[in-house]
Every structure is written in C-alpha cells, then in structure tokens.
Amino acid sequence: MATATSSFDDPNPDSHHVAAATWGGRVRVWKKIFTTALSERLVYRGDFALGTLMRFLPIVTQIFLWWAIYDSIAASQAAEKMVESAVGGSELDPSTDAVQIGGFGFRDMVAYYLITMLARAFSSMPGLASGIALQIREGEIKRYLIQPIDLLSFLLINRIAHKVAYYAIAIAPFGLVFYLCRDYFVGGFPPPHLFIAFLGSLVMGFLIGFFLEAAIGMIGFWFLEVSSLLFLYMLFSFFLSGHMFPISLLPDSIEWFVNLLPLKYLAYFPAAVFLGKIPDEDLPMEMAIEAAWLTFFIVVCRWSYSRGVARYSGYGG
C-alpha cells in the first residue's frame, strides 16, 4: 500500500494520518494511487495497442452490412420513382446520403460506429462491479474500513489512471483508423460548441459508467453473487446503449422509453452529439439530464456503500 510505506519515512506517523484528512494530504494520496495504477497499466503496452487495432475489425463487417442495406433501400426507392414518374429516375447513390434511416445516412452510420467505439472505451468498466462484489465476498473490503482511503475514490482514481494509460497507447491505432475513415464524417469536424459538449458527454459518460457499475457491485453487500445480475445489465446495456445500432432506429413506441434510460449516455449520446444529430436547442437540456443521472448514480452509490458497510460483518481472514 502506497500510504503504508510512506508513513515509515514519516518521523511522526500520527501527523501523517492527520495530514491525510486534509486536502493537501488527500491530493498526495490520490497522486500516489494514480501513478501506481498508471505504471501498472503501461507494462503490457504492445499487446494493448495491437488489441485495440483488432477491436476495429468487426466495424469492417458492419460497414459492408450497412452498405448493402442502404443500397437496397436506394434501389427500391429508385424503382418506386420509376413507376411514379415513368421517365426513369436516376440511380440513387448511397454515398450521397440521400437515403436516411433514423436520421442517419450511410456514411453517418459508419462514423457513428467509430465514435461509439470511442465512447465505449470511455464508459465501459470491465470487471468493476464483479471486482467490488468479489472484495466484499472475500472480506478484502475491510482494508478500506481500516486505512484512511475511501474505496470509491480509490477505485475511481485507479480507473482514471487506467483510462489515461489506455489513451496514451490507443491514440495511435484510434488515430490511424479515424484518419483512414475520415471521408465517412460527412459534416467534417463539429463546430466548437458541439465539440465541447461532446467532450463533456464523454467525461460524464465515463463517470456514469463508473458509478452505475459500482452501484451494481454494491449489491454484493446484500447478495453474495452478482454475476447473473451483471450479465442481465450487460445484455441490456449492449442493446439499449446504442452500441449495436443508433437508438433512433428503434420503433417510436420503444424509442421514447429507451431515451428515458441512462444507458444511452454510454454510447449513443456522445456519438449523436459529435455528428450533430441532437438539435442545438435541445442540447443544453440533454446535457443537464445527463448531469442529473450522474448525480443520481453518485448518490445511490454513496448511499448503498454506507448502508452496505453498516450491515457488513467482515467474513474472511
């Protein structure tokens, strides 16, 4: 433990604990946690970069699938036009984005998948909930009850460090793929206000992902096994976060409901902001709703942690 070793150098260990409670001390602890987690992550960087590049491969299949779909829509629309006007409509080219489904043209759709990759890289938290549940089950969690470190801040700083390490390495493959696919971004680079909103939605998406999964992990205080619950969550989140397809493709009867859920902020929302699919007048309200969801999950997480600790009876050695 970083704090434990540093207290040995300290002539007066008591004063160190006092210091940890002040802001300066806290920042020092956080910095230590961050740098440790960062160096931990950078050990396997080659594997990491290759793995990131490979993760783009399924998008290739998606591109061809959507290409074929837009093509057949264009063909059937052209055929209809022929019947209507009987003068012979010109062949619709899907690359001109004349065909739209759910507000997305073909190139939009490809750009959408690329940006959701980015958004998911921010908001996905592999092993967070199951890790917390495991710590509860094995009794390791009492470490945080004894030492002057807060479990949630510790995990959060760890995750931030992991994400920073991830982007330090993944920026090369991401950059390469986005450069190769630059033609798919019809609108070009978004105007500054959209880009700032996009960055904001990514950061909030990261935090929502963190606190949502941590809250699921807290269920471990009540039920010792959360894996089946977690699985259910993953399934819904894959389908309803927009990872599989843009939410605006859903039938209207379902779409309004999915829009009420917080899951869309994990993938769909940042991409829709970047591509300008959210009207400017709605954007502030949407961002405010996202912030409200974030606050909600922070409160739920904090509350369930303190309730959980109160009923925790410390099994394990």
């Binding site: 399924p58 299949t61 057949s72 389908f239 599989m244």
Partner: protein
C-alpha cells in the same frame, strides 16, 4: 487435472470393437462426463443457457429493426427477411456446434501446453488430435442450436405460406443443407485447430477467442455484400484462402433459394465448399502434427 475419466474409458477390450467404434465410445464417455460436470453446477448451467438465448434475442431484434427499413440485405441479392432469417439460423446451428464441441477444448489446449499437461495426452493410446479436440462438451452452448431451430422453423413456415414468391425447399435441398452444414462445421473446426496449434509456438494464446470471433464475424452475412469496392480482395481471401465465407453461405443458399434455376457459378461455389472442406481438414492435420513436432514439454 481430472484424469480419472481416462482410466475408465480407454481401458476397454480392444479386440472386439473396431477402431471406429472405439473412438465413438470414447467420445460418448467424454460427452457423458461433461454432462455430469455441467449438471453439478446447475444454476450456472441455466444462466449460461439463458445468456446465449438473450444474445440470440438481441440479434433477432436487431435484424427485425433493420427489416423495418429495407426489404432485403443488398439490392438484387434476394436475401429478404425470411430468407435472411434462414441464413441467421444456419449461422446459429454451425456456431453452436462449434462452441459446444470444440471451443472449450481449444481453450483448454493452450492451458495444457503451458502447464505441461499435454505430456499426458501424448501418452494415451489414442490419437492426440482426437483426444484434445473432443475431451469436453459444453452442453449449454447447444441452447443456441434450439434457438436456431425456432428461428428456422418460423422463417420456413413464413416463407412457405407468404403470398409473394413463396418457397418450399425440396427434400434434395434439405439433404444438401445438412451435408453442407456439416462441411461448414468441419471447416470451422480446422480453422480452430490451426489457431490453437499456434499456442505451441507462442507458448500461450490468450487472444485466441478474440481472433476467432473477428474471423468468424465475416461469415455471418451473405457473401455478396463484400464483393464490391475495397471489399473484393477480402471477399476473395475469405472465400479461397481462409474459406470462412462458404461455411454458412453455401448451406443457407441451398435451403433458402430454389435449387432449380442455378447459375454455373453457384454450383462451382458448392463444389468449392466440398474441396475446401477436404483441404482445410488436411491442412489443419498437417499444422497440428508440425506443432506437436516442435512441442517441448513444460513440465520436469
């Protein structure tokens, strides 16, 4: 290592059973033992079944949404909704068989190499490739097979009863369908053996599953959609070099489209599927032997 099953199953009377029967019986024992093991953790088994059915439902939902906007996948390809769902069911059949019978073994194989457990497999009086490919059966993966049956049943009945362009497969096409589904399984199996044999050289192959997923991803859609623009080289590569595109496409086409008006090109593709099956089995056998040849025990 639970090595107990080996002593039960391999020590039988050699003079009575023919060589073929012997392998069938060994496989029966493997399958039974896996079932016992799966049933020991029954809740886990149920969750695994439910999870694969959930995944199926999600996929079906995705394609239902797509077909709200379009009549077919690709212009003039003929893959309309019912036919495409037959295609999807075929993917599900082949993948579930591969996942039930080969996937757990391929994963275990690299672990055997790392821990030196392969030494024991080499000593058994039975073909090593057979032993390491069929040791375990993941019964819960067959839930997807049932899901595929449901999808195929619904799609076939809708295809047969619809007003426009109805289609009832002939007995001949059903027979060919089953045959080429089996060819597809064999091609997938060979690919998996080649991939997992690389872990002998690499020491450990943890990205095996990812790699497998990315490669087989290509086989999940009608092959016509790749044959355009910068997809053409890929189309050629995955048809002729690593023949994953014929795995689902050939049987699905035989079932979903009438056999009679067929172009020569299509029949050539069917023929190629047969040749590719034989070639890939031979090649994977060769790769496996080469890999075993360079195996150096990790233990002692």
């Amino acid at each position: 290592m639970d090595d107990q099953w080996m002593s039960d199953s391999v020590g039988f009377d050699r003079e009575t059973g023919s060589e073929w029967m012997r392998y069938v019986r060994v496989f029966g024992t493997f399958a039974r033992n896996s079932l016992v093991r799966d049933m020991t953790f029954r809740a886990n088994f149920v969750i695994e079944c439910l999870s694969s059915i959930g995944w199926t439902l999600m996929n079906v939902g995705f394609y239902l949404i797509i077909f709200q906007f379009t009549g077919s996948i690709g212009a003039d390809t003929g893959w309309d909704r019912e036919r495409f769902f037959l295609f999807l069911a075929t993917t599900w059949f082949i993948n579930s068989i591969v996942q039930a019978f080969f996937m757990p073994n391929a994963e275990e194989f690299s672990e055997l190499i790392r821990t030196g457990g392969l030494d024991f497999a080499l000593l058994k009086p039975i073909d090593t490739q057979f032993l390491i490919s069929f040791r375990r059966v993941s019964w819960s993966s067959l839930a997807n097979f049932l899901a595929g049956l449901v999808i195929a049943g619904v799609a076939l009945s809708r295809l047969a009863t619809r007003e426009v362009d109805p289609h009832i497969p002939t007995a001949m096409s059903v027979v060919l369908y089953v045959l080429f589904c089996m060819c597809g399984v064999v091609i997938m199996y060979s690919l998996m053996i080649c991939l997992s044999a690389t872990s002998i050289w690499l020491g450990r192959n943890q990205t095996l599953y990812n790699f497998w997923f990315y490669i087989t991803n290509f086989s999940r859609y009608p092959m016509e959609i790749y044959n355009r623009g910068w997809g053409t080289p890929m189309y050629g590569f995955f048809t002729f070099v690593v023949p994953v595109l014929v795995v689902v496409n050939v049987p699905a086409r035989l079932l979903a489209k009438p056999i009679d008006p067929r172009t020569n090109e299509e029949w050539m593709l069917v023929g190629w599927a047969l040749i590719a099956t034989v070639l890939s089995v031979t090649f994977s056998r060769w790769v496996f032997r080469r890999a075993l040849g360079s195996y150096r025990s990790a233990s002692s």
